[in-house]
Amino acid sequence: MSALAQQSPWQRFVAALGTPSGAVFVLLVVLLIAASIANPRFAEPDQLVRFLARTAPIAIAAIGQFFVIVSGEFDLSMGAVIAAQVVIAGNIIGQDEAMILPGIALMLLVGVMVGLLNGVLTTFAKVPSFIVTLGMMLALYGFVRFLTGGAATGNPVDSFREIGRGLLGDVLPYSVIILVVLAVAAWLLMRSPFGHTLLAVGDNAVAARLSGTRTAGVKISAFVLSSLAATVAGILLVGYAGVHPSIGTGYEFQAITAVVLGGAVLGGGRGWVLSAAAGAIALELLFTVLNQVGTDSTWRPSVQGIIIILAVALGAVAWRTARRPPSVSRTDAARDPDPIPTPTPTPGEQ
């Protein structure tokens, strides 16, 4: 008897599609087909690329949010970080090309600082991240209003905005390249010891700590990654939409919706980072399809609200059933007369 039976790659692929994080790719394909049927022009390569470029900021934000959610926390400050970064870009870079690099450096620094603060308050001050990042969101929005007076101010030089709206060789948008690079980096990071430790902390922080994990450090890193992702999203959005204090509004919830749609479990410990990006794209595709069939775009928040509730409700159930071993394979377990791990030792004696 082979104690450690291995599945074939095909079996594993099919099994993976059955999990919520795998199913989002199926959803993606279905929505793509639907969009192409509703509007055949949508399936043309240049249209698809343009769609992907428009989706890149939210997909990147979703990747950042994924790290925080999978570690068992939330980051509600993302949208405000985007707004702050956009305003910083408008004010610092302005029309001075020489300021582009220092400006980007400052924005990244601000991103790191916001993430550090979110993380330190959550882990060391033990304030729930929901509250910390909500407070951060309000604080940043106040800061943005102070700087802008609530109206569009300052417009960074066009060469900076090219990052968000430009094309490489008139074909490939920079934003798509950045998305792909970041997605690959995130995928590699989740396969590194850091990524596995992040999952372990989200799954069981006590066990992780007793295994020698720096749980605080790991969570703080997740918050920093999230803020940095928001910063990058902000840089891309400036190119797209210019400077306005309302840019980024609602991105935190859209990112959370995308992560959940990508099958990650709120509370941590489960999820695939690429599924979070796929969730963001699927969400945008859904809005596109709804648009194509004539649904008023004012319904967008309602659709998003329904999706996030449905995804959370279905996700927890689906993970359990999808990964439960088929009962026939219990022949192996039959050797062991303790198939259900007994609770320690008699509940009555605790």
């Binding site: 104690a3 450690l4 039976a5 291995q6 599945q7 594993r12 590194s192 010891p193 850091f194 596995h196 430790t197 999952l199 372990a200 799954d203 069981n204 006590v206 066990a207 992780a208 700590r209 007793l210 295994s211 020698g212 994990t213 720096r214 479990v265 410990g269 489960r270 993970w319 990964r323 439960r324 071993p325 394979s329 192996d332 377990a333 050797r335 062991d336 007369p337 303790d338 198939p339 259900i340 791990p341 007994t342 609770p343 320690t344 030792p345 008699t346 509940p347 009555g348 004696e349 605790q350």
Partner: protein, 503 residues
């Protein structure tokens, strides 16, 4: 107060109580009779089923079989509230008080005296004062918030609450576990007052001396079955301990690998202490297996957590492999070559949603990420050597049996090649075959020069595996015994019964 006219009549009778959890029987047909005005001691080892029986009487658990009679009438409780209304009150080890509410508010919670639609605070305070006088603590102010009370006073409040419910039976779970000596005297006085009023007390305790001081009748449980019930004066502590243990060595233990000799000291403590344990001095040598025995709450797990930096020692010195080292965190300890296999693998040991491989590599990845690749390459054979039965390395550990989960826990620590291994209840909740596997791993580690410190509540395991046995009581080391000791010796030291004999 009515003098108990029919003192000695049976007030509560339990017959043939069977209680199972998830298919495992915890009580196998237990009988118990409580008589008016008696203090009935309920004793037994950890896991004997004392608390479970108490919770059956309290209506927390509904027994699978068996019947209860109260004053000769058959009864069946479907909730704790019903039991309370019928006059069976329970004082749990963990109090159920609201710490920011006053004594009076706690006692009358949910049944506050009213005046019209509002709570009659004056009457509530007056009634509480009377109640506290009745049970013999007139100087406790009913308007004090519970947070300001000592543990003993909180217990008094719990008892007062029980009395206010007109209880005819009061069960107390380990009432003296957290009390100082003079507080125990207060409790004894209160209990005497209650029995004078004809209330029957069921007294669950590990402290045999108090059981003898307080109880008129003693019932012994062992492994969920009734051993017997005796009048207290017919027993002495030695006999009682033998009744509690009274079993053959049922498990079998692998012999030490030939050539395993104690080497250099790997772990040394001198006067180590933190908030939970005090003044612990011990030495574990390379190749040695040292067992730590003691009752629940004696501070065994806390000692391991101190050594491992999870609750760092604040006093004393600690040396690892001869060098002074006091870990500030588990990470610090792991880096110095320590490993801790926790008591509860599900809440403290594993990430249940992650796979076998992810869990097995958990410690390496967290602490020594540069060694991950080598550890991953070695893992399949390491798991095979542990005879892990799983559908694959990518199966989630939550679907493994307890024994196989424990093998994954062992694998994740073996992967970092520790020099000192701390084991907390290493075979809890796993079957005999898997237990033997754990014992073999321990022998193999010892043979390779690892120092092992094992906490276990299973005395046969402690006696069968240890080279030496340290016994803890009340957060301190009570003494050391050779591996040739008997279960009675260990239990006597753990309960303090020997001091009585020596005095």
């Amino acid at each position: 107060m009515n003098p108990p006219a029919d003192s000695g009549a049976v007030v509560l009778r339990a017959t043939g109580i069977v209680q199972s959890f998830l298919g495992t029987a915890v009580l196998h047909g237990v009988d118990l009779e409580l008589r008016k005005g008696e203090v009935h001691g309920l004793v037994g080892e950890n896991g004997a089923g004392k608390s479970t029986l108490m919770k059956v009487l309290a209506g927390v658990h509904q027994p699978d079989h068996g019947s209860l009679e109260l004053d000769g009438e058959p009864i069946a409780f479907t909730s704790p509230l019903q039991a309370q209304r019928a006059g069976i009150a329970t004082v749990y080890q963990e109090f159920t008080l609201l710490v920011d509410r006053t004594i009076a508010e706690n006692i009358w919670l949910g049944r506050e005296p009213r005046r019209g639609p509002l709570v009659d605070r004056a009457r509530m305070l007056r009634d509480t004062r009377e109640l506290l006088e009745t049970i013999g603590v007139p100087d406790l102010d009913p308007s004090l918030p519970v947070r300001q009370l000592s543990v003993a006073e909180q217990q008094v409040v719990e008892i007062a609450k029980a009395v206010s419910l007109d209880a005819t039976v009061i069960s107390m779970d380990e009432p003296t576990a957290a009390l100082a000596d003079h507080e125990v005297a207060l409790l004894a006085r209160i209990i005497a007052g209650l029995t004078d009023r004809g209330i029957a007390i069921l007294y669950v305790s590990h402290r045999l001396r108090e059981v003898f001081d307080l109880c008129t009748t003693i019932t012994v449980l062992k492994d969920g079955a009734l051993v017997g019930t005796w009048p207290a004066e017919e027993l002495d502590e030695r006999t009682l301990v033998r009744q509690m243990v009274g079993r053959e060595l049922s498990a079998f233990f692998p012999d030490a690998t030939p050539g395993t000799e104690p080497g250099e000291p790997m772990l040394e403590l001198e006067g180590a202490g933190n908030d939970f344990v005090d003044d612990v001095s011990l030495t574990v040598r390379a190749g040695e297996i040292v067992g730590i025995a003691g009752l629940q709450g004696a501070g065994r797990t806390e000692l391991l957590h101190g050594i491992f930096g999870a609750d760092p020692f604040s006093r004393g010195t600690m040396r690892v492999a001869g060098r002074r080292f006091r870990p500030r965190s588990p990470r610090h300890a792991v880096r110095a070559g320590l490993a801790l296999i926790t008591e509860d693998r599900k809440t403290q040991g594993l990430s249940l949603n992650l796979t076998v491989l992810q869990n097995a590599l958990g410690v390496v990845r967290a602490v020594f990420p540069s060694r991950t690749r080598a550890a991953r390459d070695a893992m399949p054979s390491a798991l095979a050597e542990l005879e892990l039965v799983a559908r694959g390395l990518d199966q989630e550990v939550q679907f493994l049996s307890g024994g196989n989960q424990q093998k994954v826990v062992l694998a994740r620590w073996l992967a970092v090649a520790p020099g000192v291994v701390l084991l907390d209840e290493p075979t809890r909740g796993i079957d005999v075959g898997a237990k033997f596997g754990v014992y073999e791993v321990m022998r193999r580690l010892a043979a390779s020069g690892v120092a092992i410190l094992m906490v276990s509540s299973e005395l046969p395991e402690v006696l069968g595996m240890s080279d030496r046995i340290l016994v803890m009581r009340d957060g301190r080391l009570a003494g050391e015994l050779p591996s040739t000791s008997s279960e009675e010796d260990v239990l006597a030291l753990a309960t303090g019964a020997d001091e009585e004999a020596a005095a």
